[in-house]
C-alpha cells in the first residue's frame, strides 16, 4: 500500500532574501499516522506546512497526496486537497473572522447552511450548541481553538495539519486541546501532521516525529525511540534544553 503523503527531495529557496528554507526534505506519512514535526524557529517547519497544503510551490522536489501531485498544480486543480486536508493554526483569533458568527465560520467550508452539521461539530469539539450564535471575541483562547478545530473538521477531511495549535494557550487549556485533538483523530480516523517547537507536546500526541534543523530533517523515527535514544546530536541538545518539570523537581529534591 502506498503512503498517504509522499514528500521527495523538497527544496524551497527564497531567492530575493537568499534563504534556503528547505534543503532536500523527504518523508512519508501513512494513513492513520500521527506525524510530528519538531524544530526551532527558522527550521523550515512553516514552509513545509505551506507546501504540504499547496499554499506555496517548492523550488524542486515533489509532494504527492494519495498518488496525486500537489506541487506545480494550479489552484483550480487542488480542490481534492482543499477538502481532504485541513489546517488548524496557532493563533485562533487571527484565523477566525471576528465579524462572523461561529455558525457561519464553521459552516463556511460546507458552502451551504447546515445547522445540523454545525451542531454536530460543536458537540464533537465540546462546545455548547448555543455557541453557534456568538462571535469569536466572546470566547476564551481555548474555546476559540475548539472553533478552529470544528471548522477544520467540517468538510470531513482525512488529514488534519495542526500548526503549533497550543503554543498560544495557557498550560491548563493546552492539555485539554491536545486530548481533544487525539480523541478526534481516533474518532474520525484522521491522519494528523502536527507541527510544534515543543517536544513535550509532540511526544504527548504523536507516534512518529521528524526533527528539523535549518531546512533539513536530522532525525526521523518512532516518537519513543527518538526521545529515549536520540541518534542526532541536535536532537539530544533539544531534549536537554527543553524545560522538564520532572527533571527540575528531581534536581530540587536532591538539593534538600
Amino acid at each position: 500500500m502506498s503512503s498517504l503523503i509522499e514528500v521527495r527531495d523538497l527544496e524551497r529557496r527564497y531567492s530575493r532574501r537568499d534563504v534556503h528554507a528547505l534543503r532536500g526534505v523527504s518523508f512519508d506519512v501513512e494513513p492513520g499516522q500521527r506525524f510530528g514535526i519538531v524544530g526551532e524557529s527558522g527550521s523550515g517547519k512553516s514552509t513545509l506546512v505551506r507546501l504540504l497544503a499547496g499554499l506555496d510551490q517548492p523550488t524542486s522536489g515533489s509532494i504527492t497526496f494519495r498518488g496525486q501531485r500537489v506541487d506545480g498544480v494550479p489552484e483550480r486543480k487542488l480542490k481534492f486537497l482543499r477538502s481532504e486536508l485541513q489546517i488548524v493554526f496557532q493563533d485562533p483569533m487571527g484565523s477566525l473572522d471576528p465579524r462572523m458568527r461561529v455558525r457561519d465560520i464553521i459552516g463556511e467550508p460546507l458552502g451551504r447552511v447546515d445547522r445540523g452539521r454545525v451542531a454536530e461539530l460543536l458537540d464533537a469539539v465540546g462546545l455548547p450548541a448555543d455557541a453557534a450564535d456568538r462571535y469569536p471575541h466572546q470566547f476564551s483562547g481555548g474555546q476559540r481553538q475548539r472553533i478552529s478545530i470544528a471548522r477544520a473538521l467540517a468538510p470531513r477531511p482525512s488529514v488534519l495539519v495542526a500548526d503549533e495549535p497550543v503554543s498560544a494557550l495557557d498550560v491548563s487549556v493546552r492539555a485539554q486541546i491536545l486530548d481533544l485533538l487525539a480523541d478526534l483523530v481516533d474518532r474520525f480516523e484522521l491522519t494528523m501532521v502536527f507541527v510544534s517547537h515543543d517536544l513535550g507536546v509532540v511526544r504527548h500526541v504523536c507516534d512518529t516525529v521528524a526533527v528539523m534543523r535549518r531546512g533539513e530533517i536530522v532525525e526521523l523515527g518512532a516518537v519513543d525511540q527518538v526521545y529515549d535514544q536520540p541518534a542526532h546530536e541536535y536532537t539530544r541538545e533539544l531534549i536537554a534544553a527543553a524545560p522538564s518539570l520532572r527533571a527540575a523537581l528531581a534536581k530540587l529534591t536532591e538539593g534538600t
Partner: protein, 248 residues
C-alpha cells in the same frame, strides 16, 4: 526585605495580594493569562495603565512606592528596579543602535559618563560580541535582543528585577541560555528577582519560592519544592497535572 507588598489591589482585577522578596531571593509568580500576574508587576513598577489604580502598599527597601509621583518613580525605574518584558522587539527602540540604547539607563541616571566603554562592558557581560554595539535591534536574533534588554535592566545594579515571561517568545535552546544568564547575573549581583511565568518547569529551575495566582488573588505560596510536589490548593494541583505531559 527588598520588596514588601501588602494588601495590593488593582481595581477589581487584583485583590489582597501580599508577599515579600528578600535580598537576592528569587520568587516566581505563576498563573494563567488574566490571573493578574502582569498587573501585579506593573503596579510595583508604577506602570499601570491610566484607567487603573493600585491600592495598598508596595515598599522597595522600606520606601513606599504607591502614590509616589511619576517624577520620583522615573528616578527609581531602570535604577533601583527594572523590568524585562516578554517581547524584546517591542521593548527596544528599532531606530537606535544597540550600543547607545544599552547605555541609556546609565546616561539617564548619570551613573557613568564613559558611555561607550559602559556599553561594551554591558554587552560583554551578557555574552554579546563587541560589534553588537553598532547593530540595530532588527539585525539581532530574538535571543540576542533579550540579552540586550537584560543588560539594560541590570545596567545600574537594581535591587529588584522583574521578569515577565522573559523566555516565552524564544526557542527552547535559546530559552535555556537566557534562563542561565538571568540566574548567573542575579546571583552575582544579589539582585532580588520576581519572575512571572506560566511555565512550571521554568519556575522550578529558576525560583526558590513560588506564588500561585488565580483570578486576581494569591491562592498558594511556599517554597518551590513544597508547592510543586505537595500542592495544597485545588487549582495548583490542576495546573501541575496539566503541565505534566510526560505523565501519560
Amino acid at each position: 526585605m527588598t520588596l514588601v507588598v501588602e494588601d495590593l489591589g488593582v481595581s477589581d482585577l487584583v485583590r489582597d495580594v501580599l508577599f515579600e522578596v528578600g535580598k537576592g531571593e528569587r520568587v516566581g509568580l505563576i498563573g494563567e493569562s488574566g490571573s493578574g500576574k502582569s498587573l501585579t508587576a506593573l503596579s510595583i513598577m508604577g506602570l499601570l495603565p491610566d484607567e487603573l489604580r493600585a491600592s495598598g502598599s508596595v515598599k522597595l527597601n522600606g520606601r513606599e512606592l504607591l502614590g509616589e509621583s511619576e517624577r520620583e518613580l522615573s528616578r527609581l525605574r531602570g535604577n533601583e528596579m527594572s523590568m524585562v518584558f516578554q517581547e524584546p522587539m517591542t521593548a527596544l527602540n528599532p531606530a537606535m543602535r544597540v550600543g547607545r540604547q544599552v547605555a541609556e539607563p546609565m546616561s539617564i541616571h548619570g551613573t557613568r559618563r564613559d558611555h561607550k566603554a559602559a556599553a561594551a562592558e554591558l554587552l560583554d557581560s551578557v555574552g554579546l560580541p563587541s560589534d553588537a554595539v553598532r547593530a540595530y535591534p532588527h539585525q539581532l536574533s530574538g535571543g540576542q535582543r533579550q540579552r540586550v534588554v537584560l543588560a539594560m535592566a541590570l545596567a545600574n545594579d537594581p535591587a529588584l528585577l522583574i521578569c515577565d515571561e522573559p523566555t516565552t517568545a524564544l526557542d527552547v535552546t535559546v530559552q535555556a541560555r537566557i534562563l542561565d544568564l538571568i540566574l548567573s547575573s542575579t546571583r552575582q549581583r544579589e539582585t532580588s528577582l520576581l519572575f512571572i511565568t506560566h511555565d512550571l518547569a521554568v519556575v522550578a529551575s529558576v525560583c526558590e519560592r513560588v506564588l500561585v495566582m488565580l483570578d486576581g488573588e494569591i491562592v498558594e505560596a511556599g517554597s518551590t519544592l513544597d508547592v510543586l510536589t505537595a500542592p495544597k490548593h485545588e487549582y495548583t494541583q490542576r495546573l501541575l497535572k496539566a503541565s505534566d505531559l510526560e505523565a501519560s
